[in-house]
Symmetry: C3
Subunit: 347 residues, 3 copies
Amino acid sequence: MRYGQERLRKLLQPEEVRGNFSGTVHGIASLDRAGPGELSFLSNGKYTALVPNCRASILLLPKDYVGEPPPGGAYFLLENPSLAIGILCEEIERKRNCPPKPGVHPSAVLSETAKIHPSASVGPFCVIGREVCIGARCRIGSHCTIGDRCFLGEDILLHPQVTLYPDCAIGDRCIIHSGAVVGSDGYGYVWEKGKQQKLPHVGRIVVAEEVEIGANCCIDRARFAETTIGAGTKLDNLVQIGHNVSIGKNCLLVAQSGVAGSTELGDGVVLGGQVGIAGHLKIGSGVQIAAQSGVTADLPPRSVVRGTPALPLGIAGRLYVYWKYLPELFRRVEKLEKGQENVPHQL
Amino acid sequence: MRYGQERLRKLLQPEEVRGNFSGTVHGIASLDRAGPGELSFLSNGKYTALVPNCRASILLLPKDYVGEPPPGGAYFLLENPSLAIGILCEEIERKRNCPPKPGVHPSAVLSETAKIHPSASVGPFCVIGREVCIGARCRIGSHCTIGDRCFLGEDILLHPQVTLYPDCAIGDRCIIHSGAVVGSDGYGYVWEKGKQQKLPHVGRIVVAEEVEIGANCCIDRARFAETTIGAGTKLDNLVQIGHNVSIGKNCLLVAQSGVAGSTELGDGVVLGGQVGIAGHLKIGSGVQIAAQSGVTADLPPRSVVRGTPALPLGIAGRLYVYWKYLPELFRRVEKLEKGQENVPHQL
Amino acid sequence: MRYGQERLRKLLQPEEVRGNFSGTVHGIASLDRAGPGELSFLSNGKYTALVPNCRASILLLPKDYVGEPPPGGAYFLLENPSLAIGILCEEIERKRNCPPKPGVHPSAVLSETAKIHPSASVGPFCVIGREVCIGARCRIGSHCTIGDRCFLGEDILLHPQVTLYPDCAIGDRCIIHSGAVVGSDGYGYVWEKGKQQKLPHVGRIVVAEEVEIGANCCIDRARFAETTIGAGTKLDNLVQIGHNVSIGKNCLLVAQSGVAGSTELGDGVVLGGQVGIAGHLKIGSGVQIAAQSGVTADLPPRSVVRGTPALPLGIAGRLYVYWKYLPELFRRVEKLEKGQENVPHQL
């Protein structure tokens, strides 16, 4: 990247520009690491004190920032510096990753009954099953396996090495990262005749639009109905979704979290990293669950919980404080016991 | 699916049929969600109260169920409704997934010394190493890599994108899901000359018959002996098995659980989701470990434990109850201390 | 393997040999399992008592071991038996895994602008992007995807099914296991216009030399700078590294651990299995974190911590002991309360 101040001004449209930088910026860096020729930004108020000493040539700041840039540098004052940096990154991304040409790579193996929109691209070594439908402008990376009867909407991006088992429906503008497995059999057995007999899973997966599924995630198909992921929900890497789970809209599931079978999440639920939720629960909309928590009971909407078993955040926080004083408490009780022994009974 | 009552009766062989449904069912759903034209079932006694209001056209019920179907509906009374639903799903699955034709896809890359049974199928883009042996009726999905000297028994199903490192033995009727990696090097280093020197892993993996390995699981090869998984054991997704681990028969390892190196599990052990077991331990047969627990000591057979560090279930449960009252306990002790101050010493 | 005593002596160069074994050893096994014709070793002092009853034909022992082998057996006294067994295993490994021939498999799909050193090997069904550079003696397994502008040094081993997104730099002698995904987008969104808007990630990944990355690990690319893994660091399987994370040299990250975005680890940090570290933290060099711990605050160098939230090991250990006596403490306080009621106030 090589951006002069004027080009950046046009791209980011700041409400105000202070100072003037006459060179070009060639990189983006954080406030404490940026040097001359780099661009930086303030997205979190707690770093405001770093701004005056930041050596970046151009700084994106919130519009209420008070202060002047150093000589030869420039401040861009904006409604939302985070969003602006996003716009810049998108532009960089677009220039760097020239998109694949439409069409199916000659090495791919397609069923005769698969329908691929002519504007879609299918990478090398893909295997596309029977009656698969792939919509306009989809980009299917190399080595993807798309099982029979999968239905992909429009503008979907599958990175390399994604596996879709049969009967998955993927909504418009979804992104699925490498190694993700969507539609594997749910984990269901019944003990019969001295064995764990496998329960067949004939259900399917429905992923709504604008869902992102991280690398090496696993989403199990339903036993006979549907496992569903709501619109706009984002799964980080290595997330596990059990069979028949239903996840609402705009949820955030941070890395290595897991949701066991048949549990329902409302809209806007946030799971921290490594959270586990037991099966057959109802987690209300807007619930937030701190990292590593374990949830074993239903949670009403907008609960904020932490710990295993999960408790309301305030209570959990207080418990962890008291917890540290537990040895002291034992000493105090011991002292009390000794004191009481000295008290003659039945005076 | 389209099933009339008579066809279902032949397939499921109920002990008794009550009522009569003259149409066809086209789907399966849970008691609370099923509608006309759907089939439902009662597998767990706690949902018995839902049966009278269930709108399904055909209901599979335990044989001791008392009650009559609504007009135009039918009840099938069976020894085990869960098993019956399984039989039905298997039939649906069989009709839907027409099995691949025997033979090796022309795109696959095979060593000249690999032996593939003529009834087995090998999918597109598979790579099969030297001296590999693949038994009768195995189905190897696309993009599988099977390392040198792997031995696969009969009727094994490898979903797409499975990696077997060299020297893995896989038993009859095993199922391995996409993204699973079997036989990767164990995690072993020795600190020498200012570096973590890698310990070579020349051992192997032995997976007994009827094991199921979930999507994106990792099973490490032994340092020089064998990592073993016993017959009938089922691994959910994203499970980690360290080097030299030995797992007994019919164990259940729920998603995201992990077993560190050289630990031995007996038969019928159940690990909840996200459980971690430290290395070099002996976990007796029939042990059950609640989700997210951390086990750092041997466990005798039939232990049921919970928590980190794991404690017997009853004790752990009681501790979590007391735990919530910890702030109150501090207040009570404080009150006692104030009370005692008022008591003159050495009366 | 078939090794006589003399050949082993030349290979392992013991400081002293006691006894004489005239046959050949065909396998390696642990002290308690080894039988005649096998070799065993003592690597951990706590197993010393097993040595006199070990039935192995050749035993590798620390040089200060006092004792004589049984008739017909031999003891090799060495500075470091673990290292010696490593040397032996390396020799076995070398003989067994004949390395792939240099060159690119005809099925691989290469960009015209990719540069592959003639001594490197690229396996079947690999896809190599634009301006990729692969150094001398690299071995790229089957089904690997190497994105645009990736730079691989020398002597790197990529097992099958590894995915490198664009702009990853991998240092000399690194090993990456199957299913690992390096360079996926970081998990970053900003809530705007009623949606989680994806933040583009235009940064890159820099993996230094001699790093090992386990099966199905995920390492996210930086938002605009670099996610870095220091030289000699070893990641076990299923480890998650967030965007902009910086990991020092010679760290050990055990299976299923995760490090959230922008956190910095110093050198020689050890994370136990399933450890989680929150984002934007500084973890000092030499820190050790026990398995399943959750870290939510900076840790000074050489801290040893345990638990969620993580506390110094000694304190955490004591707390877990007191924790078990919590029900008893409640009883004691109750007794005190009853006792105090019997004390007349204001005597």
